[in-house]
């Protein structure tokens, strides 16, 4: 079952510079996909199209039944509730503690406060952050900050998890741990897409797919599956 479809997608800025050029691929349920390429290759732009932050200049993107051709602005939040996104800089709210940083993702979509906190507490405990629920983001290490960001992305049990350079700001040991978490998430059936230029990462995931971008073009699409 195809979750994501890119059909001849091009994205230009200022009508000249191509961030993506005629990119086509589809991603199925439960795949673990690496998007690789040098800085400026279009990795972040590609991920931004998946959660409809960016729209293609040409072509169509279809995600979980929503199409960039037909989606209405007011429908986008409902797509985003099915997608978790994490970033290199974690994007945590500096004025709230760890628990609130996670529960906010549920509260703003209508889950009552008590229930939201219970679910946030459960996911944080699962990720090994149970003893840091009331810490503020500035009291956390890089690896811990990213775990909180992952918890926020996962708390609503998304169909797709997007990770944009998730280990860019953390030490190698924490990076390993983050990768293990992503694999665990994928093992439960969530489609995981990781944009990275850390090629060492690729070897640590056996069952994977690699999309390689160069100057906005998809130059490689390889599957490494053990049958």
């Amino acid at each position: 079952m195809s979750y994501i479809n890119f059909k001849n997608v091009s994205k230009t800025y200022r009508d000249r510079w191509y961030a993506l050029q005629d990119v086509s691929f589809s991603i199925d349920k439960g795949e673990f996909v690496f998007v690789i390429g040098p800085t400026g290759a279009g990795k972040t732009t590609l991920l931004s199209h998946i959660y409809f932050k960016e729209f293609p200049t040409f072509g169509t993107v279809e995600v979980l039944g929503y199409s960039t051709d037909t989606v209405k602005k007011k429908e986008i939040p409902f797509l985003r509730r099915k997608i978790g996104v994490i970033f290199q800089d974690f994007k945590l709210l500096s004025d709230r503690n760890v628990l609130k940083n996670v529960s906010i993702a549920l509260e703003v979509t209508g889950t009552p406060g008590g229930e939201a906190e219970r679910r946030a507490r459960a996911i944080l405990t699962e990720l090994g952050m149970g003893d840091k629920l009331y810490k503020m983001p500035n009291e956390l290490s890089g690896g811990e900050g990213q775990k909180v960001a992952i918890a926020r992305a996962l708390v609503r049990e998304p169909f797709i998890l997007l990770a944009d350079e998730p280990t860019g700001n953390i030490d190698p040991e924490s990076s390993e741990e983050i990768l293990k978490i992503l694999k665990r998430v994928n093992d439960r059936g969530t489609t995981v897409i990781v944009a990275t230029h850390n090629y060492g990462f690729l070897e640590k995931v056996v069952r994977k797919r690699v999309l390689a971008l160069q100057a906005g073009r998809l130059v490689k699409d390889e599957r490494f599956y053990i049958k």
Binding site: K74, R80, L93, I104, E107, V108, G113
Partner: protein, 284 residues
């Protein structure tokens, strides 16, 4: 979600810090100025309406008119459009009225051998016919009748009052427009600052699937609070000011109760509109 929206609205108030006070203070000052101007307009208009209500035409008759002529004058006057009542005031009645209205001068008339007041008709006009132009027309027509010495309507005073009232109302509404723009501008800038200070939060809310209204409502509440607080404090200040002036002038100034809710409503609506446009501009 309700808890989240209220917490964010209060959080936004805290983020604004000094600007929140500036917004509220500017709203208060400008709404108070408008309220005072509106009060003066209503005061003048009130005097105008009361004077208009009491408007009458005094038709002074020449001396020693025969009864038939007086009767035919009575009939002629009652035939004009908009006449409610025509009443003859005899010389004795005129003297009585004078003595009642000016008791300090009652001795003065005793020096005359005869009553110094002429007979007159007091003409009252129907409410819907109290237009100054119509009254002027009736005065002209009555003056042309035989046996009439002088006709007095006092419409010039009413006309002047009407003009003053129009000027005050125009000033109030010009002020309303000006203050609307000024309050809008200040609240708009405050909300803009708050939104910029909380862009990180807005970005995350957008990312996790919060709807636009969930993101926007706290800022709308926030802007509306500035306008409401400004309007409420201006209404209270105006009430105190009127009471103070009544005490100082030893005159019971009328209290137009409609003004107070109007000021609060104007403040609230202005705050809402300003924050709405601010949000639309910062996050289209």
């Amino acid at each position: 979600m309700k808890d989240f929206i209220l917490n964010e609205a209060l959080g936004a108030y805290r983020s604004a810090r000094g600007m929140a006070w500036v917004s509220t203070a500017v709203s208060f000052t400008l709404i108070l100025i408008f309220g005072a101007s509106l009060y003066i307009s209503m005061l003048v208009f009130n005097i105008f309406v009361n004077e208009k209500k009491n408007i009458k035409i005094d038709v002074y008759l020449k001396e020693d008119l025969p009864e038939e002529l007086k009767l035919s004058l009575y009939r002629a006057i009652t035939r004009f459009a908009g006449i409610e009542e025509v009443k003859l005031v005899t010389r004795d009645e005129a003297l009585k009225i004078f003595k009642t209205n000016y008791p300090e001068y009652s001795d003065l008339v005793s020096v005359f051998s005869d009553i110094p007041f002429p007979e007159s008709y007091v003409v009252r006009i129907k409410p819907h016919w109290k237009d100054p132009q119509h009254i002027k027309h009736i005065v002209k027509e009555i003056s042309a009748l035989p046996g009439i010495d002088e006709v007095y309507a006092g419409t010039e005073w009413i006309n002047r009052l009407s003009k003053v009232s129009i000027v005050f109302i125009s000033i109030s509404f010009a002020l309303l427009l000006g203050l609307f723009i000024a309050i809008n501008y200040v609240i708009y800038q405050t909300i803009r600052l708050i939104i910029n200070a909380r862009k990180e939060l807005i970005e995350i809310l957008d990312l996790v699937g919060a709807t636009r209204s969930t993101i926007e409502i706290p800022y709308l509440i926030n802007g509306t609070i500035y306008g409401f607080t400004g309007g409420l404090s201006a209404a209270l200040a105006l009430k105190l000011l009127i009471s103070f002036l009544s005490a100082v002038l030893s005159y019971n100034l009328p209290d137009f109760l409609l003004i107070y809710p109007l000021l609060i409503i104007i403040g609230t609506i202005t705050g809402f509109i300003a924050s709405f446009f601010s949000f639309e501009e910062v996050l289209p």
